[in-house]
Symmetry: C2
């Protein structure tokens, strides 16, 4: 059908607007879950230099779940140590402290730095492979209108969001970024110091002159279109917050210097010349974040961008680093920005249109948070939308996106607000200097901030997806969401359940320790087995299966799980493998060499397939390995080696539920709360023929 104004019409399950890291993460989930998806971006080219590039441990764990952490890890520069520099009594800067960049023991990864363009490349390769090339970024495509048919938002089969898109030719969509006569691109081009987005204006002007139109009906739209989000504006939502007077410059250079810590991450406070952060990068480059004390916002709150040049920024860096010398021949990229913290009032509209990333939170880039938090927004959102679109999960889980992620954004904004002021302030001359910033206070904030900045302190509140004690509104962003299975009266019960696995706090991501595959003795970081494929997982800590009473408990649990009427069968289409919606993984604590997969473990834990035999990939043991791994998983997870427990893990690796092997009914309640469970009464296929 072709409408003369709105062009051809089509349906799609998910439409993603914006192909930066947040949009690509959303597309990645859809590719992994097999949901029909389109992703459009008004720009016609990927990013080739500059922009965000610090990667938290948590982002690396997420990349690993998607299958490309190894590529990132190999190419990136690794950040190991932070050196703090501050003025001595003589006013000359000297190294005052060293701390590890990533708190030891926190994750199997450390923080690293790699150019955003490479990350986007890895996403694109992954999406291409997992979607069989059916999801491709459509560039030079602008959304022009968006309407939500409110009458249909509750209907799972409907496509209630209608978006018109305009397609520009490659030439039409290529703005001229080069400044005439300069080899370096204009670094202010996309900075928040611009009153308008020149690029957007330019593209819009072109768009008004031509380009083909089409109309798309989508079940869900995800707006990942950046700080000036078109999607946010058309929904009428506002960013709330404030700007500061602090203006910072950024440069990516290959430094020629005698400063001894140029390959360390450094936080440098000079006595009078402002502050500097050093972030060593790949390919000999170093990123410098440089406070510009000579530039101040005017009465309208905006800085005069014409004054800001690479020379001005670099002179400021030289002054801060004095008496050390620094120079460069090669500059890869530069920009400047005004520090401010803002968060959007709403993260969705009717749980049909969602906003993520810079579209809903902005802050200063120094902590390397921006790209990480944006990607993690969509790591939280993507599987929820995918499972609801596929009819596996209930629509009510979608409310948890705002409650979980807007709360993270609020915490981030608070952190950035405090940290920016400490970093941009003049160091105190002595204890009587009340206007100055205490270097002890700064170091303390830095160390505390480091845990936050790792992305590993995220703790989602109670909801139908997180069965834990406490008040859901208090633990979330304040919005009212579908209630958790826990009522106030079961609080005590849940506190007890948490005690079954003290190292796996409900709401936090499932930590990773090494376990061995029972069938082939290969060591795995357990998190490697929690892939981002949209499946919930039940982790059965089976305890000591060689003890007869414990074996009886395990057998009883498995009988309930494999009963025709159980939620496991009710969740699984009759023609699908028994592990296609919920996968059961086992970690036992007996000696590996005394146990055998086919002897000690019921079939549902290693399902039989008539074409390929037993599944050897699901049962693990917490035992010593020959080469790596130290039989400490039960200890670190805080689980009793004899009795074990049962843990539910969400598709995004967050711990959702903990119980005893006897708490089968409560386990079933959890899944009845969030999944549709349309099948059932089918006998399992987990028996050898």
């Amino acid at each position: 059908m072709v409408d003369s104004n709105r062009g051809p019409e089509s349906n799609v399950d998910v439409l993603i607007i914006g192909a930066g890291p947040a949009g690509l993460m959303a597309a990645c989930w859809m590719a992994h879950c097999g949901v029909t998806t389109r992703i459009v971006d008004k720009r016609n080219a990927k990013i080739f230099c500059g922009q965000a590039d610090g990667l938290q441990c948590r982002s690396l764990e997420i990349f690993d779940s998607l299958g490309f952490a190894d590529r990132v890890w190999k190419e990136a520069n690794h950040l190991i140590e932070i050196c703090m520099w501050s003025p001595g009594d003589d006013g000359v800067i000297r190294r005052s402290d060293r701390i590890p960049d990533t708190i030891p023991g926190l994750s199997r990864f450390q923080q690293i730095v790699l150019h955003q363009g490479r990350i986007e490349r890895f996403f694109l390769d992954n999406i291409k492979k997992l979607s069989n090339n059916s999801i491709r970024v459509e560039r030079g495509v602008l959304p022009e209108s968006l309407k939500i048919d409110e009458a249909k938002v509750g209907d799972n089969t409907a496509y209630p969001v209608t978006v018109t898109l305009r397609h520009l030719s490659e030439e039409e969509a290529t703005p001229p970024q080069q400044i005439s006569g300069s080899k370096i691109e204009d670094g202010i081009f996309r900075s928040n110091l611009m009153n308008e987005d020149d690029e957007e204006d330019w593209i819009l002007k072109r768009a008004s002159r031509g380009g083909a139109c089409e109309t798309v009906h989508a079940k869900y739209v995800i707006g990942c279109d950046g700080a000036r989000s078109w999607t946010r504006r058309i929904l009428g939502y506002e960013l709330e917050g404030e700007a500061t007077d602090f203006i910072w410059g950024v440069m990516d250079i290959i430094p020629i210097t005698d400063f001894p810590d140029i390959r360390m991450r450094c936080a440098i406070h000079s006595a009078e010349n402002g502050s500097l952060m050093v972030i060593p990068r790949e390919n000999k480059m170093v990123r410098l974040y440089i406070q510009l004390k000579e530039v101040a916002p005017d009465a309208t709150g905006r800085a005069d961008r014409s004054k800001i040049t690479p020379d001005l920024i670099f002179r400021a860096a030289q002054n801060i680093l004095s008496p050390y010398k620094i120079d460069y021949e090669y500059c890869d990229w530069w920009t400047a920005y005004q520090i401010g913290q803002r968060v959007c009032t709403n993260f969705d509209a009717h749980q049909r249109v969602f906003l993520a990333g810079d579209a809903v939170h902005t802050h200063s880039p120094k902590a390397g948070q921006g790209m990480n938090v944006s990607m993690q927004d969509c790591y939280n959102l993507g599987w929820k939308v995918a499972l609801v679109a596929k009819g596996i999960a209930k629509r009510s889980i979608l409310g948890s996106y705002q409650s979980e992620r807007r709360r993270v954004a609020q915490d981030l904004i608070d952190f950035d607000h405090r940290f920016s002021r400490l970093f941009s302030g003049r160091p105190a001359k002595d204890v009587m200097d009340a206007e100055g910033v205490s270097m002890e206070e700064f170091k303390d904030a830095f160390e505390k901030g480091n845990l936050f900045a790792s992305g590993l302190s995220i703790n989602y509140g109670a909801s139908i997806l997180v069965a834990k004690a406490g008040d859901a509104a208090e633990q979330g962003d304040g919005s009212i969401i579908a209630a958790s299975a826990a009522s106030q009266t079961t609080l005590d019960a849940f506190r007890k359940k948490q005690a079954l696995a003290t190292g796996l706090p409900i709401g936090m991501r499932f930590n990773s320790f090494k376990v061995l595959n029972q069938a082939d003795a290969r060591p795995w970081h357990f998190q490697e087995r929690l892939k981002a494929d949209g499946r919930f997982r039940i982790v059965l800590f089976a305890g000591d299966v060689l003890s007869a009473p414990q074996k009886a408990r395990v057998d009883a649990f498995c009988r309930a799980l494999d009963a025709p009427e159980s939620f496991l069968h009710a969740a699984t289409p009759p023609d699908a493998a028994i592990d296609s919606v919920i996968e059961v993984l086992t970690i036992h604590s007996s000696r590996r060499v005394d146990t055998e997969l086919l002897r000690e473990f019921p079939a549902v834990l290693h399902p039989f397939d008539e074409h390929t035999g037993w599944d050897y990939s699901k049962v693990f043991v917490d035992d010593m390995s020959y080469h790596e791994g130290f039989a400490e998983a039960y200890d670190k997870y805080g689980v009793d080696r004899a009795r074990g427990c049962v843990v539910v893990v969400r598709p995004d690796q967050h711990v959702a539920w903990i119980g005893e092997l006897e708490d089968f009914d409560e386990l079933e309640s959890y899944f009845k709360g969030c999944l549709v469970l349309p099948y059932g009464g089918v006998t399992g296929s987990s028996h050898m023929r």
Copy 2:
């Protein structure tokens, strides 16, 4: 110039015949060293299933030096444990032993299994990237004649080897491998049970009918064209050795079985039905090596291939595994072979034409040695040819290829001979059963063989490339080669030098332990810094540089190294970076936080470049890291923490020379022995402007 018979003529530095793993390894070196190279193969397609696929630790270390070990490691199945099964008193098989597959502590890698086609894919990607797509495998190309102009073999500028090549079209070069009416390819197609090579016959028949000719003049030719090597035959060389009566079948299947160790590597001796080896593979597959007791060679020494079918092979496997059940639906590949051990009399002709891989040694495949030893032949040969072709090294180093690698082949043949007989023999019923094989003896041979099979016991003999004590002919293959710097009178001196680094035996590969980069505290496995780029390396164990006397020793060594007349400058073209032929790497033992790169270490250890500043990648410290690495490198290398020592490492990571910091003249002698050193008298560029 076009000769009517021989087609157009051209020159090339290196012509490689055969694009299997050995030929690709040779091409890889040429790509990494920037040597003009062609590689041709008569077959028109890569291998898509079956064939060799076990990878030793050493092969993984080599892949890491080339840059793609991570891809192999990620896709492969990892072999952790070997289970031995033998008959009990009742004649029923049971697990009699477990041993680790890779001896713990031997390498940072463990043995793995991955299909040869994937390995070739990684080689091709690597060659393409490193050669800027200038080296590409030319398929469907047959060599037809080869002549060596003996008058010119000593002339470095000459192209003394003339080869004519015939180019077939894709259609002409595609033999019909499918057996009509069968889904599985004919597994005997390329087996050594064939009297003739049907494929080769087929291609030759096509070639006789057409295809364009050309004539190539090469400085060096490397023949990697397999067990029926055309290159070997045209040189008139013979494989010496013998065949056995043992016939084995091979199948790659997805097993459906109740045998408990099907995901372990297993060596199974049945009481009467023969032996079986289980090698678990990637993608749920398992390779079975199955002794075929029902098939015996005839009077001519050849087995009747028509009797050998997948059914016959699999029935044999079922009998050996009884009482356990095994079945399959999916078979990926199968073949059969007759065990034999042969090694070629010569590995080169005039040190202008070289033979490598299956062309010069054949043996049984069960130890997973074939592909590994073949690749390692060319890992030994490639850099030598490249450096001589580039005028960096003297031609006399080329003799070491045969002395080093033919000796390895001889050792391999001996090992395989003993091992095959133990594995193919009937297990002894009791101690009086003299005809049977003792299972204790078998286990003992297996454990000893495991070290050999890891590829890490290779110890090259004395030569101009290996400055160590002992008799060169005895340590090599018996051929006479250019003498080492060591004469009989300096034996005692060299024994003392080895004592300076007891963990780095001269002639063996440089073992790897973790050290930290001084400038950014990042932990590295030191071997990761020994990349395959054709550079020799001097590893300066600088000792405790915070002690004044030791600092003076380091300064004196560096002054000698950086003097205009030193071998380092004499080896380096005036317009090239000082580290382009010989790279100096430093590991010191002082505390990292008490030392600074620019303060304690002379410029030659971290050379200055006027465009990019100091080199931060060359100085390391043996100190504790925050996250990994335990300050044990000096201990494990057996080097004195206070005084250190100096070690020369060949481009293939083998230890070449050890001395004190004061042994500068001997160090210079080593390089004068093997390198051309055409420059000199140029002052270093390692000073800050």
